[in-house]
């Protein structure tokens, strides 16, 4: 039985050459589906990876009451001081022997600058920080120039932001709200979303932008388990009403919300294109079966059962699909993997990320192509098996 299946399949494949045109159409159709899906999901994956890599389990964000994003909400300086003393918040020992809490109260706002690639104005997240920001975020380090000086109109710019926007090289000047700032350094953060931001002194920012209060506080926990202690302490203090997020959860949520639309688009496009490809495969394989009517009838007449014939048609379909799937996935990988792009991260600000084509994505693409091939081959295979031997032999090929 098995040998028969192999033999029929071989005959089948050997005649593919004569049906090159319509087979190529099936291959290209399926390659198109896999190529487009690889591109769309590589974009969503890249953005998701950047966001997810940006959060730490032992850091918390404290936002204003009711706030779910860093841009909204207000926290007074008094409240920030209380938070620095809460149990569960970590501290480092300072040179003078006292404790320096790892708490960084910050102002966060997006400002509009021209993007380099299309000169359109887009949002750059601007963060007002004190020296505590660097103690809380050890992943941030200066890659070029120097740190900004407290009290000066100086900004440091993340590597990704400097790539995305015009006029953010070290030494450049930017004018915002009638105030001129000088770019004095660039910083890196291992490709995290932080690299898409620009930082300046929190007091300078408060004055320039008329902000009396902070929007957001970053703090290090004693350990990832201390989140509950901090949350309980905030609930227990009448002077505080902050929403607390574990930093990794916060970025995971942002990753989900900013990739949701891309995922919906990807799935919609995938379904529609797959149906189109299935119709193409059906068409081509019905035609293949009808040109092979006589050959199939002869096989049946000399004693082959319907099974090897059904299987041989399915093999042909899935072989074409496999070629298409591999071709589409390979093209998607070659063209899109590692491409730099920016999109909206949160609060109308640009976040830079890199397209990411993972092995799972390629595998899923090839798997989808096989499913399309199977569905597209099934009905023609059944028709081939049901062909009347007598009619088939009578027909002139």
């Amino acid at each position: 039985m098995f040998r028969r299946i192999v033999r029929v399949a071989l005959i089948n494949v050997s005649t593919l050459r004569t049906r090159l045109g319509s087979s190529a159409v099936v291959v290209v159709g399926i390659a198109g589906v896999v190529f487009v899906l690889t591109a769309l999901f590589a974009m969503a994956n890249g953005l998701r990876e950047t966001m997810q890599s940006s959060g730490e389990a032992d850091r918390v964000l404290l936002l204003g009451k009711g706030s779910r994003s860093e841009i909204n909400g207000s926290i007074t300086r008094d409240q920030a001081a209380i938070i620095a003393g809460l149990p569960g918040i970590s501290a480092t020992r300072a040179l003078d022997g006292g404790n320096k809490p790892l708490v960084s109260p910050e102002i966060y706002l997006t400002v509009n600058l021209s993007r380099r690639d299309d000169h359109n104005r887009a949002g750059l997240p601007l963060r007002g920080v004190s020296e505590a920001a660097l103690r809380v975020r050890p992943e941030v380090s200066i890659t070029q120039g120097r740190l900004s000086t407290a009290g000066q109109f100086e900004v440091i710019v993340g590597e990704a932001a400097a790539r995305t926007f015009e006029g953010l090289q070290v030494g450049d000047h930017i004018s915002l709200k009638g105030v001129t700032f000088t770019v004095v350094g660039h910083f890196g953060a291992y490709g995290r979303a932080t690299e898409s931001e620009a930082w300046l002194d929190v007091n300078v920012m408060a004055n320039a932008f008329n902000r009396a209060t902070m929007n957001t506080i970053r703090a290090r926990l004693d350990s990832p388990q201390s989140l509950d202690v901090v949350t309980a302490a905030i609930l227990g203090d009448k002077r505080l009403a902050n929403t607390v997020f574990r930093e990794s959860d916060f970025y995971n949520e942002q990753a989900e919300s900013s990739t949701r639309l891309m995922t919906i688009v990807g799935i919609t496009v995938g379904i529609i294109m797959s149906f189109g490809a299935i119709a193409t495969a059906l068409n081509s394989l019905y035609a293949a079966v009808s040109t092979r009517t006589r050959e199939i009838a002869i096989l049946r007449a000399i004693g082959f059962s319907a099974t090897p014939i059904v299987i041989s048609v399915l093999i042909e379909a899935m072989l074409m699909a496999l070629i298409g799937g591999v071709l589409g996935a390979a093209m998607g990988w070659m063209i899109f993997d590692g491409i730099d792009m920016t999109s909206i991260g949160g609060a109308y600000s640009q976040v830079a990320f890199r397209f990411s084509v993972q092995p799972e994505l390629l595998f899923a693409g090839v798997l989808l192509s096989l499913v399309i091939g199977f569905i597209g081959g099934l009905l023609p295979a059944v028709r081939a098996a049901r062909l009347s031997v007598v009619d088939g032999l009578k027909s002139v090929a």
Binding site: G21, S22, A24, V25, V28, G29, G32, F35, V36, A39, L40, M43, G64, K65, G66, S67, R68, S69, I71, N72, G73, S74, L109, T110, V111, N112, D117, D118, N120, R121, A122, G123, L176, K177, G178, V179, F209, T213, L261, T268, V269, I272, M273, F275, G276, A277, A279, T280, L282, N283, S284, Y286, A287, M341, T342, S343, I344, A347, Y348, Q350
Partner: protein, 382 residues
């Protein structure tokens, strides 16, 4: 038999094949209908947003505010007819996942936006109810809100002077005069909001202005922006159309992604159609020879092939585009960003162009074969 009759019988010769090809083509046009309008918006050819109404926002930031006094200054500029303003309220409703837009607006907002359809009685009620709110049809239906209901919003940006949740009374529901209206939005009274907010009195998100007849939008845009140049609150004025475009462009190079999708779709569709036509015609060369022998001109047989090819693409295009119009309508109810994205004239024109191109392209090969057709050889095959 008429020419149309011949085309029809040609298409119906193998109904299965025609149907499957139509299906492939329809799926391609479904995608063209879905993404074409989005691409039009990205290229600044949006179909519904106002080109003669201006939005003024802070130059330095999309999320910061302007002083409301700017509105008074703008209303006195020559060439500006009416002025209004709006402040983003934000806040969370019920479990916080319901993020429909909430704006604080003065009475002058509605006359300036006639596409927001709301009855004069409701406007009267809104003007006299300090805590009044007008809710979009979509949000009202989704949350079962009706006139007289009380809506509580927990603030995120705008704490009020008592540091509690804000409460509003629904005085009316609004509908949309065109697809650019966000039916999920909610409007509250600016006067009440401004008095009761804990900070930021007199700050607005956007100022809306109407260009008077006889003046161009570009001229007024420059006039407004230069009035505030070199102040600490510089403005960035744009037409509503460009404003929507600016938002879309912040999404990144979406245009590129859409081009990738549509490019692949068009390429595949061209191949599929060409293959079906070529396949069908290959089987029928002898029939064409008979037609020629009966006295049909060569051009007539070639026109037959082209007609059949065009008809095949058209048969797929029409249901595909209808499908995408339905899907877009359905999507608009759930994704407010789709407001204003409709299949209008530019998309239809592009679709018609694609039908012509693909239809004729697919007919190329068989038409050339018909030119070289050797009547005797083909007739001998019969």
């Amino acid at each position: 038999m008429s020419w149309f009759g011949l085309v029809r019988s040609g298409l119906w010769r193998r109904p299965g094949r025609t149907l499957l090809t139509t299906f492939s083509v329809a799926s391609a046009f479904l995608l063209i209908g879905l993404f074409g309008p989005v691409l039009m918006v990205f290229e600044g050819r949006g179909e519904t947003s106002e080109g003669n109404r201006l939005i003024v926002q802070p130059r330095h930031s999309t999320t910061d505010f302007l002083p409301v006094n700017h509105a008074m200054v703008i209303s006195k500029l020559p060439g500006v007819r009416d002025v209004s303003y709006q402040t983003w309220f934000g806040g969370t409703f019920r479990d916080g996942e319901n993020s429909f837009a909430r704006w604080a607006v003065p009475d002058s907002f509605f006359p300036l936006h006639p596409e927001i359809i709301v009855s004069p009685d409701t406007l009267e009620l809104m003007a006299t109810t300090r805590t009044g709110a007008i809710v979009g049809r979509r949000t009202a239906e989704l949350f079962g809100l009706k006139v007289g209901d009380r809506v509580a919003l927990v603030p995120d940006i705008w704490s009020n002077k008592d540091m509690n949740a804000w409460e509003f009374d629904v005085v009316g529901i609004f509908d949309g005069g065109n697809s650019s209206v966000d039916l999920t939005a909610m409007y509250i009274n600016y006067a009440f909001f401004d008095e009761y907010r804990a900070w930021g009195t007199g700050l607005v998100s956007y100022i809306n202005a109407d260009v008077d007849v006889g003046h161009s939008a570009g001229e007024i845009v420059d006039r407004i922006d230069s009035s505030f140049a070199n102040s600490s609150d510089e403005t960035n004025t744009s037409t509503e159309r460009d404003f929507a475009l600016g938002f879309a462009q912040q999404l990144g190079d979406i245009g590129l992604m859409i081009s990738v999708i549509l490019g692949s779709v068009l390429f595949t569709m061209a191949l599929v159609t060409a293959n079906t036509i070529a396949h069908g015609m290959h089987e029928r060369m002898a029939e064409f020879a008979v037609l020629r022998a009966m006295g049909f001109q060569r051009l007539a047989t070639q026109a037959l092939v082209a007609g059949e090819s065009l008809a095949l693409v058209l048969l797929g295009a029409v249901p595909g585009l209808i499908g995408s119009a339905l899907l877009l309508g359905l999507g608009r109810d759930f994704v407010p960003q789709l407001a204003g994205i409709t299949i209008g004239f530019p998309t239809l024109a592009a679709a018609a162009g694609i039908v012509l191109c693909i239809g004729l392209l697919a007919a190329c090969h068989p038409v050339l074969r018909l030119k070289r057709l050797k009547l005797v050889d083909e007739l001998r095959k019969l």
